[in-house]
Every structure is written in structure tokens, then in C-alpha cells.
């Protein structure tokens, strides 16, 4: 049974078709990268899957359960979590209290263990708004991973990070996904991150799937090279 199954999803903004009959299937434990040029529909697809987007057609199933009618909070409670393009934390709460708040809702997770896992213990009693940007990104990811959700959607997790931090994030994500058995779907523009951690890649262009496959197949795909990768791969 796939962890995530998206079938024939269409979403329009006025006359602009952001998603045009997209279908994809992600296996449990897989790390799937969504790549494509700006305006391809990557973030919109993440928004549809997570419940942020409204007025779309098609089908979204999480472990064979139809989640299309559930709101974001309900989706989180059954194990679908996400992060955002912009860092999304609670700036006036301490690092510890917001992780505790997140853990209390999904139950059973030790927020202290998460603090340690993400190297945030020393900052636990600082207000999140006062810590460095890189630490805020880690906190953002930590919030999304509280409760070890079976499916994690990441929207440009490496945005604004240095090369070093991006590499570290990619390695950490890979290890955590395996250790905690989390299926990951990520949107990312940093091709180094994408090719180093993705099991499979879906390439979107103009709201449609241009290609899907293993990183090596995508790297060699002529249509993908022409439409997006160029010499980046």
C-alpha cells in the first residue's frame, strides 16, 4: 500500500492551471523530491496534500485513507506533517515550550529527545525569535517531526541555509527518515540536496508531471535537462 497516492489532482487560480491532472504514488519509507522550474506547481501540490489549498479536484490518499475532506489539523493528527517555505515557528515562545505544545497534541513524543536530536538543547529556554536563522530552520523541522509522522512534506527545507548547513540538513534528514521510518516528500531547488537524499524524483512543469524516476534516470532525461536542469545535474 503506498504511503501517499495522489490521483488526477487539478487546481486553478483564476484562469491559471497550477496543477493539471497530477498523479503520483510514494512508497512507505521513500524520500521523494519534487523539482521543477518556478511556477511548475510544486508548492501548490504540497498545499493540496497538506490541506492548505482549497477548491481543487482529484484524490489524495494517505495509507489508503481518503484525506481530501480533512482539514490541516485533522491531517496532522493522522500522521501528515509539513514545513513551510518561510520559517514557520512561534517567535515569542521558548524553543522548549513550542516543542512541548507540539508533542502534547500528537501525544507520546518526548520533546526533550527532539531537542537533543536537533541540537537545540542549549537553546531550549531561549525565545525562538531570538535564535539564529539556521537554528530557527532546525526548530521548524523539529516541529514538523514531533510525533514521528508517517508522512512529512517539506517545502524548500534548505532555503536560506549555507552550503555547509544544507549538506548537514540533507544527511540528517536521510538518517532520520530511515531511523524513524518517515516517508518524505520534499520540494527543493538545491539540486545537491535533492540528488544526495532522494530515492525517486518527480519533475513538474506547467502543472503537469514531466518525468518520474530514480535520480540517475532524471539526471539523464533529455526533456528534464532541457526544461529545468540544464547543466545543474
Amino acid at each position: 500500500m503506498p504511503a501517499l497516492e495522489v490521483s488526477d489532482v487539478t487546481k486553478a487560480y483564476g484562469g491559471f492551471m497550477a496543477l493539471n491532472g497530477i498523479s503520483l504514488s510514494v512508497e512507505p519509507g521513500e524520500i521523494r523530491a519534487l523539482i521543477g522550474p518556478n511556477g511548475a506547481g510544486k508548492s501548490t501540490l504540497i498545499d493540496v496534500i497538506s490541506g492548505r489549498a482549497r477548491n481543487w479536484t482529484g484524490n489524495v490518499r494517505l495509507f489508503d485513507k481518503d484525506i481530501g475532506t480533512l482539514n490541516p489539523a485533522q491531517r496532522r493528527l493522522i500522521g501528515l506533517s509539513r514545513s513551510f517555505q518561510k520559517t514557520s515557528i512561534f517567535p515569542n515562545l521558548t524553543v522548549r515550550s513550542q516543542l512541548r505544545l507540539a508533542a502534547e497534541r500528537v501525544g507520546g513524543t518526548d520533546s526533550e529527545a527532539i531537542l537533543e536530536e536537533f541540537g537545540l538543547t542549549a537553546l531550549a529556554d531561549s525565545n525562538a525569535g531570538d535564535i539564529a536563522y539556521g537554528d530557527q530552520r532546525r526548530l521548524d523541522l523539529a516541529l514538523a517531526l514531533v510525533g514521528r509522522p508517517p508522512l512529512l512534506l517539506l517545502d524548500e527545507p534548505a532555503a536560506g541555509l549555507s552550503l555547509e548547513e544544507s549538506k548537514h540538513l540533507a544527511e540528517h534528514l536521510r538518517t532520520l527518515a530511515q531511523r524513524w521510518n518517515v516517508t518524505v516528500v520534499l520540494v527543493e531547488h538545491d539540486m545537491e540536496v535533492v540528488f544526495s537524499i532522494a530515492d525517486r524524483i518527480t519533475v513538474l512543469a506547467s502543472g503537469s508531471v514531466l518525468a518520474q524516476g530514480a535520480p540517475d534516470e532524471i539526471r539523464r532525461n533529455r526533456a528534464v535537462i532541457e526544461a529545468y536542469l540544464g547543466s545543474a545535474a
Binding site: 490541516p72 489539523a73 513551510f84 514557520s88 512561534f90 517567535p91 515562545l93 513550542q98 505544545l101 497534541r105
Partner: protein
């Protein structure tokens, strides 16, 4: 709660009764008692500002409603008067919660306008429904000779009322502080900061926000009830939007960063107004100027002065240590 904090609350609670029994003029005691009503009003407004980040222009409705409820229900003698008084506060809170389920969906200026509309609707009802509210003439409350074991005379004399209203104010302040520090308080602060993130952590955000609106109205209603009991009278002026504006000024003056901020702001505003009123009829323009200066120079209000002073002391100590080395 730490021992130091408990001690601070006890000392604060003792201030009012001590003042009440000191040989101070009755006028001063009466003004202090009235300041506690305003403090409770501002505490409710400040709680909404702190927990939801929302500005209400209609809280005067919740200040005046319990008085009108007492005026309408007490003569019917359906229940013991103490029950009617508690029910008036509770009903005001519940009513605000129900309204809040719709209103808190709006943000910023839209929310402010909705509260203004409700406030003015209550004001219009108070002026036009003469058979119930007494219209512009107001309504005399028919209070029983004893309430909560206290004689009515005690509640309507400055000394007695100052003792009672001060203790009620401190108890409410303690309760508000406990709520703000509770899991519910942290959740509502989180929702205020980043509602979308809270939703994506699995929280429903509408109910907690509406609950804050209801609680803030109930706190304001406690102040309104004390006001009504002291004066045994309620009039449309009490529910006019300018009263909401004054409470908002008190809350901003005191700062919503700490629960006690709006209470401190209310006392400063109240006594500033009383002092200036005897010198000039343009006291409001002086308060307005002071408000502009405070908003620009100390956006966190009086409550922001404490962490500011603490930071200043730490910096001085560090400088001294560096100079000593």
C-alpha cells in the same frame, strides 16, 4: 508558582484593605474603588490583546450588560441575588464566547469594527428599550439589603467597597495570570503568533480564540458588576464606545506584555484623569499626548519598564565588572 510570587500577590492583596482603613479622605477611597472597576475592565481588554492579539472597541457592552441583567432579573426574585450576580457575569462570558465563534474569524481592523458594531448595538438598545433599560435616564438597581453576607451599606460605602473590589481585582488578576501561564495560555499565544503553524501542529484554532474572547468579556463583566453594585445604577453611558476606548487606552498605557500591565495602566489613567480634570477641561488632549509619547518611546507600556530596568541593571553590573578587572 514560586514562594516569592505568592508573597508578592499577598502583599498586593493587602494594599487595598490597608488603604481602606487608613485615615484617608472618603473621596480618595471612593476614587480608588472606582479605579479598581476600571482596572478590571482594562484587564479584560488587555487579556484579549495579549492572548489573541486583538483590539476590541466594544468591550463596554460587556462592562454594562451585567448591570442591566441585574436590573432586569433581581426584581423578579427567581433566584437568590448572589446566584443572579454570578449568572450575570457567567452569561456575559458565554454570550461573548458565542459571538466570538463568529467574530474571531475576522482579523485586524475587521474584528475591531465587528466589536464596535456590537458595542453600539447594545448602546442603542440601552437608550431605546426604555421599558427594560430605563432609556437615557438609566436604571436604578433594586438590590437586597445583604449580598454575599455583607450589608448593602458596606458595598456602597467607599471603605467597604474598596476592600471588596480590591480583593476581587487581585483574585481576578491572579486567575488571569494562572490562565496565561497555563497550557491554554501558551496555546493561545502560539495561535496569536502563528495561527497557520498551530493548525498544522494539529490544533483547532477557532475555539481557543473564542474562549479567550469569552474569558476577557467575563473579566470585564466582573468589573461592571462591581461598578453596578457600588452605584446601584446603570446608564447607557456605561456601554458607549468611548468607554471601550478608555479601557483600550488603559491597556495600551500599561502594556499587555504582563497580566498586571493593564491594571497598572488603569490606575495611572484614572488618577491622571482625575488630577488633570480639576485643572483643565482639555485633560483628554494631555492624556492623548502622553499616550503618543508612551506608544513611541515605550511600546511595551508600563509592563515593559520592568524587563527594561532589569536589563539596564545587568548591563551596569557587567560594565562595573569590566571596569573593576
Amino acid at each position: 508558582m514560586s514562594f516569592g510570587r505568592v508573597l508578592a500577590w499577598i502583599v498586593l492583596a493587602a494594599v487595598g484593605p490597608t488603604m481602606a482603613w487608613l485615615p484617608v479622605s472618603l473621596l480618595a477611597k471612593s476614587l480608588l474603588a472606582q479605579a479598581t472597576f476600571s482596572a478590571l475592565f482594562a484587564l479584560g481588554v488587555g487579556f484579549l490583546l495579549r492572548q489573541n492579539g486583538m483590539v476590541s472597541f466594544g468591550h463596554a457592552a460587556f462592562f454594562g450588560l451585567p448591570g442591566y441583567m441585574l436590573g432586569a432579573l433581581l426584581p423578579l426574585r427567581l433566584m437568590p441575588p448572589e446566584v443572579v450576580i454570578c449568572a450575570a457575569v457567567l452569561l456575559t462570558g458565554v454570550l461573548a464566547f458565542v459571538i466570538g465563534l463568529v467574530f474571531v474569524r475576522a482579523h485586524g481592523i475587521a474584528f475591531g469594527m465587528l466589536t464596535l458594531a456590537v458595542g453600539q448595538a447594545v448602546y442603542e438598545a440601552a437608550t431605546r428599550m426604555r421599558w427594560l433599560s430605563g432609556g437615557n435616564d438609566g436604571l436604578n438597581l433594586k438590590l437586597p439589603p445583604k449580598l454575599f453576607g455583607l450589608s448593602l451599606n458596606t458595598l456602597q460605602q467607599p471603605t467597604g467597597m474598596l476592600t471588596v473590589s480590591w480583593l476581587v481585582m487581585v483574585a481576578t488578576l491572579v486567575l488571569v495570570s494562572i490562565i496565561a501561564a497555563s497550557r491554554f495560555g501558551i496555546l493561545t499565544e502560539a495561535i496569536r503568533d502563528n495561527e497557520e503553524r498551530a493548525r498544522f501542529l494539529g490544533y483547532r484554532t477557532l475555539w481557543p480564540r473564542a474562549a479567550v474572547f469569552g474569558l476577557s468579556a467575563a473579566v470585564t463583566a466582573i468589573g461592571g458588576t462591581m461598578f453596578s453594585l457600588y452605584n446601584a445604577f446603570i446608564s447607557p453611558d456605561t456601554v458607549h464606545w468611548t468607554a471601550s476606548g478608555s479601557a483600550l487606552i488603559m491597556a495600551i498605557l500599561g502594556g499587555s506584555g504582563a497580566s498586571w500591565g493593564p491594571v497598572a495602566g488603569a490606575f495611572v489613567y484614572f488618577f491622571l484623569k482625575e488630577s488633570l480634570d480639576s485643572y483643565t477641561t482639555h485633560w483628554l488632549s494631555i492624556i492623548g499626548t502622553a499616550l503618543i509619547v508612551i506608544t513611541v518611546a515605550f511600546p511595551a507600556g508600563l509592563a515593559g519598564l520592568v524587563p527594561w530596568a532589569r536589563q539596564l541593571i545587568v548591563l551596569r553590573q557587567r560594565e562595573d565588572r569590566v571596569a573593576g578587572a
